[in-house]
Symmetry: C2
Subunit: 410 residues, 2 copies
């Protein structure tokens, strides 16, 4: 049985990022950029005003209040029509290009004279007690110079990065494809969500769960139906799943006589990489890869118990989806947070994850509350958790105030 | 000028949650549930096995190893065909219903005899040294009893909650509508992203930014085009925006002569609620509401500088979208984290937000790095931040090791 770290490394070793293509900028949210994006011009492209006021030439301004001749005005988007010399000023709006000769802006609040809206104003009185060269202006290229890399390849695009792309005219950024994910829950005991399960059977909760986990992780996911405990039909549905980049099966990988999944996968040319990981819940996890020509499918045989399946997705499938979609930072650093209550006594022999809540109290220092979880069938408690606490095998029990590793879930 | 808290309260006072309707469960990710979801049966519905092995009756098992008569087998989804008495056992699979009379499962690893797959097996030897009543079983209703509320109304649905809904047959959960958001950047200095801006003009970065911020916050957002600095055309485009639940304008709310937005909004029946907030960046923020019959539109006049617009969205618009979509927890608790470097000296007169990175070092205790940000036009630095640090007005400068309020951004 391999460790969590070994299993994760095996998975990542088989991930190579998918091809890239251009998308409309407004559809690029949460996609991963495939190329560096550079500034197509200086930012700002010209020295500009940061406030509404008067563009002036600081040199020879030493007596205050000082009266200046107003030559005209310039708004954002306009070209200045006058140069500014000693004793002169141009009315200027926030974001407008500084006129030649001007090197500072005096905010309108520090001036008096004719009202702002009066086109006939010809003189303004500067009420400030001093004016510094460069004040309330931003120099050309102060933020970035033309040619500078602004957003690096392999960045997942959030709204601020999308705004940067817009600023430099990148209307169709090239992004990596989203991994196509197939979800197949298996087992004759599983009935559809809209059915009433007869005694002994239960509804398909793993399908919708894995589907939405895959979408949350950036995958383009589809549920192909429930795989039966019958070899030929199971083989048919699994064959369809193997057309995608990632196939998620749940159930059928324990040691029981009806656990057909590994056999059928082997018949279909999926090479097993590992089976069983030292993780609780999630020990039966199976992982394999099928290569055919230029297509590679990663196959995860997840345990049938829903929380086991959830945890295996979170720890192994999500990093794979992120790597396939081009992201480089697939390692997640857990936080070390103080426990609010005692660790569960059930943890012990295996490295264990436990549903928990990260709480930010009034003092702003986050703590972890371990939830009263009833084991790998208990989805209800999991649904109230915002993360997983981690208890390494063989370590002494933790008490309130001890630190614990915590992995956030969104 | 009002405070950040007052402005936020004004905004939330005008939010009432939108109507609800059913959606397909697999489309319910990140939607907000409008009704409590209850267990339609006990979970589990019957006492069941948690491991593959043998269902036995503990009473009178006191000599080990003990040989038992095997009556048959039961898999998950099947009904047991035998009751179990003293000296008897039934082969059982994980998740299967316990036969009547049996009250414990002996894992297959603790037994010997005929191989697991052998249908003719009639006797099994229990190699364990003790068997506890109830072991490796889960009692009927151990997780939840029929009628119990499992997921409360106003919960945003994550994958684990979706799995709970699936488990109880909620195939079409009732969820609140997503707020319809219109985005209109304004100003003649703004050109489309795919154009090359002439001197003095710049590309529309606020539009794609606000659009994707609104989508990230759960809104159904559309950009209606760039609003010109000409009253009639501006009025026409703003009229269209007022058909939606939320209208986001950017630019045109400063004090300059060309700032037409508040006037046009007033003409169109939008009642102003506040203008200017003690926040940096973002002071010019304008907020108003239009009520017509049963339609209410919240109107945000965001500053034209992109980072000001971004911060105002994050602090005021996002909570509004969450409240409209039915979520109750619209307050976000900042963390108090240690500063890695010195606070910027520029903060002072107003409550200030500053782009920053929350970093989790190897010791697992997160710290905050203040970024070298060039002000409200500097999107590049913002795009490298994963949150905002907060510096209240008038407080002494912070040094490395001091704590600072940090607001995470995704």
């Amino acid at each position: 049985m391999i460790s969590i770290a070994e299993a994760r490394q095996h998975v990542l070793d088989h991930c190579r990022c998918l091809p890239s293509s251009p998308v409309a900028l407004t559809e690029a949210l949460d996609r991963v950029l495939a190329v560096d994006v550079v500034a197509d011009r200086d930012i700002p492209a010209m020295t500009k005003a940061l406030m509404d006021g008067f563009a002036v030439r600081v040199e020879a301004m030493d007596r205050f209040p000082e009266q200046l001749q107003v030559l005209g005005q310039v708004a954002a988007g306009q070209l200045p029509s006058h140069d500014v010399g000693v004793g002169q000023a141009v009315r200027i709006m926030t974001g407008a290009m500084m006129p030649r000769g001007a090197n500072a802006v005096v905010p309108v609040e520090q001036t008096s004279g004719v009202g702002w809206a009066d086109e006939s104003m010809v003189r303004v009185t500067i009420e400030a007690t001093s004016v510094q060269a460069g004040q309330h202006t931003m120099k050309q290229a102060a933020i970035a110079a033309r040619g500078e890399v602004l957003v690096e390849a392999k960045t997942r695009l959030r709204p601020a990065a999308i705004a940067v792309l817009a600023e430099v005219g990148c209307a169709q950024p090239r992004v990596f494809a989203r991994p196509r994910v197939a979800v197949i829950p298996t087992g004759d005991e599983v009935v559809a969500v809209d059915q009433s399960p007869p005694p002994g059977k239960l509804r398909n909760s793993n399908g919708p769960m894995l589907l939405t986990q895959a979408r949350q992780a950036g995958g383009e996911a589809a549920e192909l139906g429930i795989g039966p405990d019958e070899r030929e039909s199971l083989r048919a549905i699994i064959s369809r799943g193997l057309q995608r980049d990632v196939l998620l099966l749940s159930g059928g990988v324990s040691a029981g006589a009806l656990d057909l999944v590994p056999e059928v996968l082997s018949e279909l040319g999926v090479a097993p990489i590992f089976h069983q990981v030292n993780i609780r819940p999630g020990k039966p996890l199976w992982f394999g890869v099928r290569e055919t020509g230029d297509q590679r499918t990663l196959v995860f045989g997840l345990p049938g118990n829903p929380v086991s399946s959830f945890v295996c997705f979170d720890r192994f499938v999500r990093p794979a989806l992120r790597a396939l979609s081009g992201e480089t930072t697939t390692s997640d650093c857990p936080e070390q947070l103080e426990l609010l209550n005692s660790a569960p006594s059930q943890v012990g022999g295996r490295d264990a994850f436990w549903p928990a809540n990260r709480i930010v109290p009034d003092d702003g220092v986050p703590v972890v509350e371990i939830l009263d979880w009833r084991g790998s069938a208990d989805l209800c408690t999991l649904s109230r958790a915002n993360g997983l606490a981690f208890f390494p095998a063989g370590e002494p029990l933790r008490e309130p105030g001890d630190r614990v590793e915590f992995y956030s879930m969104l």
